[in-house]
Subunit: 157 residues, 4 copies
């Protein structure tokens, strides 16, 4: 879900997990090599229609100090942006234009990491978002505050 | 090289590649699980003492549109920060506190991606950097402009 | 309220407006030359203890197109940071270390501009905040989403 | 010079100073109320065609601690963006879409503050810049590193 396809396209490819700890969440297997490598990342709407993403921290996500690597946190954020954007980019190919994040905490192996956020402004060509990544296994302690601009890039013919 | 160890520690673990296309570059195998996954990333000083990082884009680094994933670009940037910081964080454990980037271009499989940058200010507890990631296989076309704050985190006893 | 004094100091200098359209709001006259120039800016807690800042857009705040100047928006944000930070910087001299903002809307002469926000993380030496500036005269339409790091700078003796 | 007019328009209004310490620099008097208030700010090309902006720090630019107010620094940066962008926005109305800055130093009354920078990428609708604000009176000590996106906004009819 990183700027590669329209939301319509990828939404049609989302697969709902039917068993195990991620039952009820959707994933996008095989669609994005770097996310296949760094993930699996999951997304869903919660009971109140709020869009949320999550994944479980494994050893492969860590840095040498066995805290989650900053690049992993930002990769998960970049994944989450396109889910949070939702209707604002529906049917339009979009790419990440800017990303700003503050690292305010971290997590370790086994923790569940979540991302929530909102569209601040959906413009004609630019969509502005912000969000929080948190450690759900530590009472929702924040890990990162971020904001981003997605740029709609209609296919030129 | 993501906030996990002092520069002194990791520098002592850097291994110089002796053959193949990366001969003369250093790498840090086995030291950082997420960089082992996303890399291999390389670093060296060029002939003029300028610190540079690089890697070769593979299919695993791509998004669904077969351009480099934004999360991969930011992971490489986060790796590069600690090499670029150099003496400013020597002997002191440091972590990424903020990261800001603008995505101005991308690259495809097989391209060589480079990162250069500089320390804007080395404070007592915060080190400010900025840099450019570029596509060396496309004449140095810029892919990302970024800035960051590293926070020195002396071990508390 | 821009990094010049401890919260304790400036709080003791805040003056509550007793009449006119800003009755009940506090201001800080004479304490900060650039804010005296760009303001007056006001602050208060709303009924639910949420910290809020506001001011009225005048012609002097505009750019050549008669929309609010980006520099004015950021000056108001920088003022607001220190009010929003509240207890997180109480008694400690602090300065703005980083500021990131996305301009998502603007306003014109006569509009009431508001800022709300929250402390994402109050660390030992760094305080992380985020907020929204909005046009209260246009139903709360967002003008800017921002985030910032304040650095506590204990006086060295 | 803040998003209000096309470069062609404002360039035609720039006035070259003919005497005093700013002789040879251009200014834009009367064109932009907030810059008239916060300035005067000046711009020129140096001998090598590099675009540079500058102004002299007065008491009105200070915070309560008599260092330059962060809002003043960002206002000067926002002014400078449109001069640095140069040809990249010639003839097209543009606005600041994002601004990110790290405050790495400050200055006091009487110091000459300079801004230099470059266009990282001039896209069809977005122009990416970065720059450095420095204290020329202190040997060029950096005060702020910044980056920004300008959005071209062709007039809709």
């Amino acid at each position: 879900m990183d700027g590669s396809e329209t939301i319509d396209n990828y939404a049609s490819k989302l697969t709902v997990v039917t068993e195990g700890e991620w039952a009820g969440w959707s994933q996008y297997p095989g669609g994005d090599p770097f996310e296949d490598l760094a993930g699996p990342f999951y997304c869903r709407e919660d009971g109140e229609g709020r869009r949320i993403c999550a994944f479980k921290a494994e050893k492969k996500h860590m840095n040498g100090g066995m805290f989650m690597h900053g690049g992993c946190v930002m990769t998960f954020a970049d994944f989450s942006l396109f889910w949070i954007a939702g209707d604002a980019i529906a049917g339009v190919r979009s790419v990440t234009a800017t990303f700003n994040g503050e690292f305010v905490g971290s997590c370790g192996v086994g923790d569940i990491v979540e991302c929530t956020g909102e569209v601040v402004k959906a413009g004609r060509s630019m969509v502005f978002l912000r969000g929080i990544i948190s450690n759900a296994s530590a009472g929702g302690e924040p890990m990162m505050s971020f904001s981003s601009v997605l740029k709609k890039t209609p296919r030129r013919t």
